[in-house]
């Protein structure tokens, strides 16, 4: 699997679009999930997912294999999301709310699991943007505060404060 992935990366770096499409197919679910949770906006998440893969294609030559390709791609995705949000302040903020519950639906999951996870997904989506971004990166994606601070251009203390706020709001929302 690793060898296959390395081969695809190498071919994509040489301009092989079919190899890059295979990489896209392997990683799009993870990249889209990240974009969707960070933005809470399905249409925006689709745009950002495309932007992330285009950016990855443009930057493939800079990938030297020091980290896993997936880590490189997801970090690049987070950067694309944050850059897009900063550049797109002029764009009306479209916050996901429960009127678009289908965004997080995943056919095939057990009903009870889906219900609990959908409640959590909806509650995360309803968080204020700053709290949501930190919660998603820290508690869902497993980033550390110093990494989030670096990616988001905020202080470590701010990252912690946003996380604790997010957890407080989520506990309140889920206890209703």
């Amino acid at each position: 699997m690793q060898a296959d992935s390395s081969d695809l990366i190498q071919r994509a770096q040489q301009g092989d679009q079919a190899a890059f499409e295979a990489l896209y197919r392997a990683h799009v679910g993870r990249v889209y999930a990240l974009c969707l949770r960070l933005t809470a906006d399905r249409a925006r998440a689709e745009e950002l997912t495309q932007d992330a893969f285009v950016r990855a294609w443009e930057r493939l030559a800079s990938f030297r294999g020091e980290s896993a390709f997936s880590s490189w791609l997801y970090r690049l995705t987070v950067n694309v999301v944050f850059l897009g949000q900063r550049a797109g302040q002029r764009r009306a903020l479209r916050v996901f709310t429960t009127e678009d519950p289908a965004a997080f639906e995943r056919p095939g999951d057990a009903a009870s699991t889906v219900a609990g996870q959908l409640d959590l997904e909806r509650a995360i989506a309803a968080l204020p943007p700053g709290a949501r971004e930190v919660f998603v990166l820290h508690d869902v994606e497993g980033y550390r505060h110093h990494e989030i601070a670096q990616l988001n251009g905020i202080a470590v203390g701010t990252s912690k404060a946003q996380l604790f706020r997010a957890r407080r709001l989520l506990r309140e929302a889920l206890s209703k």
Binding site: Q17, Y32, F53, Q117, L170, S175
Partner: protein, 200 residues
């Protein structure tokens, strides 16, 4: 109900990021505070649920088409680069062949017949023009200082080429002048080749 003043410490306690002394203080508080014990249970459940969320969500529509359209532009540009590289290589072969025919008899195994001189010049002009055009489209990729230096050098070579051609036109059978034209032409081709390669 969590004690507000303990919110940060309880979160850090759940995350396991407290130093031993701070952790002991939190545990001492928890021993006597049912509200904070309940909050810790909730926080742990929340953190576990978040970590357990599926890492993949497939988009409702295929996004590849839009991506392919955008990365395809670069691929087309790569194709142009490949074409220019091939053009440069082909031009080099043409010029190499032309120079071979231009060289004085002492430098080649067979005597140049001189009958293809017009054709050789035409081949050289065509290849040189194509390389120059290829470079013109990509010159923005070079540093301004490099472009300025390149243009000065090409101007010097073109002047030398004009002079040596004029001299050869006055004495068409002069083998030394033919060698001079060949040498200057080689200089120009090498410089254009280098610049095209660097720019693309």
């Amino acid at each position: 109900m969590m004690c507000n003043e303990w919110e940060a410490q309880l979160n850090e306690y759940v995350d396991g990021t407290l130093a031993a002394e701070a952790r002991a203080l939190v545990e001492a508080h928890l021993a006597g505070c049912a509200g904070c014990r309940a909050a810790v249970v909730e926080l742990r459940a929340l953190v576990a649920s978040a970590a357990d969320l599926p890492k993949r969500i497939e988009p409702a529509r295929d996004l590849w088409t839009g991506i392919a359209a955008r990365v395809g532009k670069r691929e087309v540009r790569n194709g142009k680069r490949w074409w220019r590289t091939a053009l440069a290589a082909a031009a080099t072969i043409v010029i190499g062949f032309a120079l071979y025919r231009l060289l004085p008899p002492s430098a080649v195994h067979h005597r140049s017949e001189g009958t293809g001189w017009v054709a050789v010049q035409a081949e050289y002009e065509q290849a040189s023009d194509e390389l120059t055009r290829a470079l013109a489209t990509e010159r923005d990729r070079l540093a301004p200082a490099t472009v300025a230096l390149l243009e000065r050098n090409l101007a010097v070579i073109d002047a030398a080429l004009r002079e040596s051609r004029d001299a050869l036109a006055r004495d068409p059978e002069n083998v030394e002048l033919r060698g001079l034209v060949a040498s200057v032409a080689r200089e120009k081709v090498e410089l254009l080749r280098w610049a095209t390669r660097v720019a693309t």
